[in-house]
Amino acid sequence: MSARDDEIRRVVAELDVHVAKVEADLAVLKALLADDEVPAEEDLS
């Protein structure tokens, strides 16, 4: 395996990690919006 192949594999592995982190963070943010959680205090009156 050439050094270039190793380099491609390393970059792909790092790319995979960063993509997974963005996907996970996005899932959290979208879940917040999708979740019909507690209404705001002013709505409880």
């Binding site: 395996m1 270039r4 192949d5 380099e7 491609i8 594999r9 970059v11 792909v12 790092e14 790319l15 995979d16 960063h18 993509v19 982190k21 963005v22 996907e23 963070d25 996005l26 959290v28 943010l29 979208k30 917040l32 919006l33 979740d35 959680e37 507690v38 705001a40 205090e41």
Partner: protein, 162 residues
């Protein structure tokens, strides 16, 4: 990526013919695979000219086109060339990671999500946590862009779109 180095013009022709596809159909399949990955490729008529050249061995496709072939013919590549399995699997993984990266939203969309989340009070996450999470997401998004650029440079994706 040995799988890519091992793909000859004859192999490309045998993969296409095994599906019973003519050259225009092959061009459509490559463009469809590229669209799914969010990549730009040559126009249909350009591919129709290039595919026979690649198959005759007169001109070697760039690696990003070989990756598209592997995406289209992943199963066949494994079956016909067991010795290439590891490399082929890696090439497919590469295409999948790039495809996932291409589907990510931009920073503006993340900022919009942050604003929308901040507008709806939550017990599960404080505004500071929401801001922090959005900032972290954008940081990782920049890292994704950096890695994609590194990868394009390594793969020689320098605009062979004609």
């Amino acid at each position: 990526v040995h799988a890519l180095a091992d793909v000859t013009g004859e192999t490309l022709r045998s993969w296409r013919q095994s599906k019973g596809w003519d050259v225009p159909r092959m061009a459509r399949e490559l463009r469809k695979a590229a669209r799914d990955s969010g990549e730009d490729v040559a126009a249909h008529h350009g591919l129709v000219k290039m595919i026979p050249q690649w198959e005759r061995g007169g001109r070697a496709p760039r690696e990003r086109y070989k990756l598209l072939y592997l995406k289209v013919f992943g199963d066949i590549a494994r079956d016909l060339s067991p010795g290439m399995a590891l490399g082929t699997d890696f090439a497919i993984r590469l295409a999948e990671v790039r495809s996932r990266a291409a589907r990510l939203p931009g920073p503006e969309e993340i900022k919009a999500l942050e604003a929308a989340a901040l507008a709806k009070p939550r017990e599960s996450m404080t505004p500071a946590q929401i801001r922090s999470r959005a900032a972290e997401t954008i940081t990782h998004l920049h890292e994704v862009a950096t890695k994609l650029a590194e990868l394009s440079a390594l793969l020689g994706d320098d605009g062979d779109k004609s």
